[in-house]
């Protein structure tokens, strides 16, 4: 199940609080990890932010090309948006602590996203 994959990803990274699988074409969060504390409207906001920072083939808000990964770092939070290589509309939206091991998390999150994306 997708939720199990998201739970497993979140469990493996202590600094990761929320992992949401979303579809950018409809701007909808489809599944989250079971332990997330975020409300529906916050998840919607997260997905909308992913659409703005990553962009798509039709509209890029910042730069010339759509992003494959984007980060929004604030004083006490790191939001990570990771786009599927095979299905550009599929993304993981992650809310993490600022001290997260980013390379370690990404190397784990990429195969997780591709697995979900292929099975979804």
């Amino acid at each position: 199940m997708v939720m199990d994959d998201l739970d497993a990803l979140q469990d493996r990274h202590a600094g990761c609080e929320t992992v949401a699988f979303a579809d950018l074409s409809t701007q909808m969060v489809l599944v989250t990890n079971s332990q997330t504390q975020l409300r529906r409207e916050t998840l919607d906001m997260l997905c909308a932010e992913a659409a703005i920072v990553l962009g798509d083939a039709k509209m890029v808000m910042l730069g010339a090309n759509p992003g494959n990964v984007a980060f929004v770092a604030t004083k006490n939070q790191l939001r990570i948006f990771l786009r599927s290589e095979s299905e550009p509309s599929d993304v993981l939206c992650c809310v993490c602590a600022p001290n997260l091991d980013v390379p370690g998390f990404l190397s784990d999150a990429r195969p997780c996203l591709e697995k979900i994306s292929h099975g979804a």
Binding site: E49, I52, V53, L62, A73, K75, L78, V102
Partner: protein, 271 residues
């Protein structure tokens, strides 16, 4: 007994280098201190020569300050906020008789000018300067006081009244190795740029206002400080927008530098 550098105790165990520990402890108590290879980085918020003068001005008790500039180490004897002389120059630059071992004095401008020229040449080639404070090495007599920083600044034509860099400027300077271009705009100030900024200028003119408006419409009032980083695969690049109060900076560079840039951001701006 050796005072500095890794030592062996009488039992044959390795004793930690005390000067490195002292430098790290000093850096830990100093707000926003940065270390590079165990040495304290001093040029993160001031131009290199001004940063060297600040270190001299901050040194009251007699010490030997080892300034690391690129591959060269300049060992300066400093006391009472004055530069007494240079006891050693090691690394890329061979020892120079007109500098090493001389007691600096305002009455003898030639050695002062020579060390100023050498430091400027080194700093122009490598703008990052580090320092280690070590035990004083003998040089001249206690009656020979050396030269105060104001006179050094005058002799070396260093502007010491320049404002220290803002936190965002420090962030950009500290990560210069990860960045190919930056376009920094502060309220009411002309842009400060590094590298080839043609693309960043274009983004600034055509995209930033709309992007920030759209982002604000989604997240409400955006947090500050905030760093937005985007990695693209085609081409393999990163584009970042850093926002700190009234300052904004666009940054570009190779995509694989983004995690290190994020780590640096958290170190400087995180809780």
């Amino acid at each position: 007994m050796m005072l500095f550098g890794p030592q062996l105790s009488q039992r044959g165990r390795v004793v930690p280098d005390r000067s490195v520990i002292a430098t790290k402890l000093a850096a830990l108590v100093e707000k926003n201190a940065r270390l590079k290879d165990g040495k304290r980085l001093i040029s993160h918020d001031l131009p290199p020569l001004a940063a060297i003068l600040r270190e001299i001005d901050d040194t009251v008790l007699e010490r030997t300050l080892i300034f690391g500039i690129g591959q060269t180490n300049v060992h300066a004897v400093v006391a009472g906020r004055r530069l007494k002389g240079i006891v050693e120059i090691s690394g890329d630059v061979t020892a120079q008789d007109d500098i090493v071992g001389q007691i600096f004095s305002r009455d003898d401008p030639a050695p002062l000018a020579a060390i100023g020229t050498l430091l400027k040449k080194l700093c122009d080639a490598t703008p990052q300067v580090t320092v280690i404070s070590t035990a004083p090495r003998p040089l001249g007599s206690s009656a020979e006081a050396g030269v105060a920083t104001a006179a050094l600044a005058s002799a070396w034509a260093v502007d010491t009244v320049r404002q220290p860099a803002t936190a965002l400027q420090q962030f950009v300077a500290a990560n210069v190795a990860l960045i190919t271009a930056s376009y920094h705009v502060a309220d009411g100030q002309p842009p400060q740029t590094t590298g080839d900024t043609a693309r960043l200028q274009d983004i600034w003119k055509t995209q930033i206002t709309l992007f920030r408006k759209r982002h604000k419409s989604v997240v409400g009032k955006p947090a500050t400080p905030m760093l937005i980083g985007i990695q693209t695969k085609q081409p393999n690049q990163m584009l970042c927008l850093a926002v700190v109060d009234g300052e904004q900076c666009l940054i570009s560079g190779p995509a694989d530098g983004l995690p290190a840039l994020l780590a640096s951001w958290t170190q400087i701006f995180g809780d």
